[in-house]
């Protein structure tokens, strides 16, 4: 490699060789289905939503330019604040809790016991089940009268809340459902766990480090890039949470055609956005909401990345 490059220094300066151009175009042609799809279905909607966010647009009539009006209206909309606070609750409580539980599950699944493959399958299974199906399943599980969860709580002598009807408990219900699906994250952790060199543990053990110490000083740092990845993906996912609320809160308590559950306790950002766009037919307003979400998620992601320098260790460094 190095030889051939240095040998062609003069050519380099002028640009690519014929052959290189040839491969470049050939590569582009092979990649073109994706590129075209990306341009049409991602780049175009991305920029058109920016344009629509500055208009009043109801799908049927041509968009009407209103400048920053949508953004100004959002700042005064109490549904916006309600949905933001519900969403932040999920992002800052549900994401760390789920992350921790999937790490725990991954460590359990890392033990070399008989039939471990079956356990791994069982824990991963919920991740395969579509969101709608698992949400429906949980409406039965969380039924205060005959649901499995409350039967157990009563048996243990603990308070058994009306999970999906009491506004204080609707979000914890969703977190509980999320925990059930933490097998997907556990799988990624498991792969990473198996990449941690055993020699570290052996050395630590020789030095007399206990389990907890080994966990904090070896496992967590070794997994930190994966934790960062899962944290960011989890945050992005939390900001888009929709299905569970849509299924669980569809027309419950209070009636009317409003989404968002009892006392709007499940009115998440994406649910509010959906309602504005497809029920109230305010596409411009919804586009503006989407852009505000974009900015919020970007800022939070940047913040996480910035702090990550302090706690993420990359093996190669």
């Amino acid at each position: 490699m190095r030889d051939s490059v240095s040998g062609k220094t003069s050519l380099r300066r002028k640009g690519w060789t014929r052959k290189e151009w040839h491969y470049f175009w050939l590569g582009l042609i092979f990649a073109s289905p994706w590129i075209i799809g990306f341009l049409i279905f991602t780049v175009y909607p991305f920029f058109s939503s920016l344009y629509f966010s500055l208009t009043e647009y109801d799908l049927f009539n041509p968009p009407r330019w209103v400048g920053m009006d949508n953004y100004k209206a959002i700042m005064k909309d109490h549904n916006f604040y309600k949905s933001i606070s519900n969403t932040l609750f999920m992002a800052f409580i549900s994401v760390p809790v789920t992350l921790f539980s999937s790490l725990l599950i991954a460590m359990l699944l890392n033990f070399k016991v008989k039939g471990i493959n079956y356990y791994r399958t069982i824990f991963y299974l919920p991740a395969v089940i579509p969101g709608v199906a698992s949400a429906l399943l949980w409406t039965w599980m969380l039924n205060p009268d005959f649901g499995l969860v409350n039967i157990f709580l009563r048996w243990a002598g603990l308070p058994d809340p009306a999970w999906l009807l009491d506004p204080q408990f609707t979000k914890p219900s969703l977190i509980l459902m999320g925990l059930w699906g933490s097998g997907a994250g556990a799988l990624i952790f498991l792969a990473a766990l198996q990449g941690v060199p055993q020699t570290y543990y052996e050395a630590a053990e020789v030095d007399g480090a206990n389990w907890w110490y080994r966990f904090w000083k070896i496992t967590v740092p070794a997994l930190s890039p994966i934790i960062l990845f899962q944290l960011i993906m989890g945050l992005i996912g939390a900001f888009q949470i929709f299905t569970e609320s849509y299924i669980l809160a569809g027309g419950k308590a209070g009636g009317g055609n409003s989404l968002g559950g009892p006392a709007q306790s499940l009115l998440f950002y994406a649910v509010n956005l959906y309602q504005e766009a497809f029920i109230n037919l305010k596409m411009g307003y919804a586009s503006a909401l989407a852009w505000i979400l974009f900015i919020i998620v970007m800022l939070i992601t940047l913040l996480v990345l910035k702090t990550s320098k302090r706690w993420v260790y990359y093996g190669g460094e």
């Binding site: 991305f46 058109s48 799908l59 009539n61 009268d145 960011i232 992005i236 888009q240 006392a263 037919l281």
Partner: protein, 436 residues
């Protein structure tokens, strides 16, 4: 080892996908002039019409029977029915420029969609074919009309009445249903039973029931079209909200949530009214058919909605909602679509369809039709549907948002998150901004 540049790139791509996923939509629909289709259709060719309706199961079968009847009589206009209960798909099809030729929808969607141009105004056709609109129940028709235009024909309507459990009322010492609002209050207090431990066993009436019906009982209204003012804060609406709040507070959210979560499915033998958990309920004309099917031994009565004793002229109030047929904007054969729609709304077909699915007809001339003779509970409902105090929620381009916002704030008021006046003011502030 991750390189900085590629990480940023990856995150950017992820975020771009996120935003475009949320905001993506169909490209702006090309402006189509669906309304002014010319009627100089040259020699009749066989036309295929697609007809999307929201009914499923046995109700869809009743509709298919009518479609078959039409197809046999009209070889040149063949209709193909499709059960499509996801109304969002209609929107997508219309904006995509490939709509069904005729479709059904809820009355509450008509004006919001119609005013935005998703539905074809039918007035020219109605005039040309002399369709007698005065035969329609005014409250039902008004939900399809706005600013002098008719966007859809109501085919069936729903009215709420008061259902009561005769055994439970007798046990509590009542000889008949409540007639006035203050009697209703008294009934609810007496008919709500708590177990020794304080756990709610039986409820007189679920307090969260629709405030619209009671607003009309107190003479409330939601919109002043002349002043262009939304009026969720007027005295009648406020009285209805306070009425619901009054029942709610007798028990409190905790108790009611727990009680509600133990209630069975609506369409099942465990329906709380069928099992005696509700002594009274406010429900529509389809309920007797359900009772016949799920709880044949239930002894119940149907009574008018109680009225405000201070205002006897408001007797027999009620909230009307409708199901409609309309022609989407941009259809290729508006003339034929109209012919089919008109035929469906003719008395004969309307009677056959509504009787089959247990809905009320929207034509006053059908209210004495003998086809409804054997439908359980229909005598009461048919009679009630000619009451002058029936109203439907005011049809405006913003009525969907109005109803959503109202039910959100009503809920917050019931739960004590916000005061009555403040909650209603919030509705007013938010919705008034949408009035043009």
């Amino acid at each position: 080892m991750m390189r900085k540049g590629s990480t940023w790139g990856l995150i950017l791509v992820l975020l771009v996908t996120l935003v475009s996923g949320c905001g993506s939509k169909d490209t702006p629909s090309s402006e189509k002039e669906g309304g002014e289709a010319k009627s100089v259709d040259t020699p009749k060719e066989k036309v295929q019409l697609s007809f999307w309706y929201g009914w499923t199961g046995p109700e869809a079968e009743a509709l298919e029977k009518l479609i078959k009847k039409w197809n046999e009589a009209n070889p040149d206009i063949q209709v193909k029915g499709l059960s499509q209960s996801d109304y969002q798909k209609q929107l997508t099809a219309i904006t995509g420029g490939n709509p069904p030729d005729v479709a059904s929808n809820f009355g509450s969607d008509v004006v919001p969609w119609g005013e935005r141009g998703a539905m074809m105004p039918l007035d020219d056709y109605i005039q040309k074919d002399n369709v007698d609109l005065s035969d329609f129940v005014p409250a039902a028709l008004s939900s399809s009309q706005s600013n002098g235009k008719t966007y859809a024909i109501p085919i069936a309507m729903h009215v709420s009445m008061l259902f009561y459990n005769k055994d439970l009322l007798e046990k509590a010492g009542f000889s008949g249903p409540p007639e006035t609002m203050s009697q209703l209050k008294e009934y609810i207090a007496k008919l709500s039973v708590k177990e020794d431990g304080g756990k709610l066993q039986q409820l007189g009436l679920w307090p969260g029931v629709d405030a619209y019906t009671f607003s009309y009982a107190y003479g409330g209204s939601y919109y002043d079209a002349d002043q262009k003012q939304v009026t969720p804060d007027n005295a009648g609406v406020k009285a209805a909200v306070e009425f619901g709040k009054g029942i709610w507070d007798q028990f409190g959210s905790k108790e009611l949530d727990r009680f509600a979560s133990g209630l069975g499915q609506y369409m099942s033998p465990q329906n709380p009214f069928f099992t005696g958990k509700y002594a009274m309920t406010i429900d529509g004309e389809w309920l007797p058919t359900f009772i016949k099917q799920y709880a044949p031994n239930l002894k119940y009565g149907i009574a008018p909605i109680p009225y405000d004793e201070n205002n006897a002229s408001l007797k027999d109030p009620g909230n009307v909602s409708t199901s409609v047929f309309y022609i989407p904007k941009g259809v290729k054969h508006p003339e034929e679509s109209w012919k089919f729609l008109k035929w469906m709304a003719e008395p004969e077909q309307m009677a056959e369809f509504t009787a089959a699915i247990g809905n009320l007809p929207t034509r006053t001339s059908l209210q004495t039709h003998e086809i409804y003779k054997d439908v359980p509970g229909f005598q009461e409902f048919l009679q009630y549907s000619s009451s002058p105090n029936l109203h439907s929620f005011p049809a405006t381009s913003f009525s969907t948002e109005y109803m959503t916002e109202f039910s959100n704030q009503y809920n917050a008021i019931l739960r004590g998150d916000i005061g009555v006046d403040e909650g209603l003011k919030r509705v007013k502030d938010k919705i008034q901004a949408l009035v043009k």
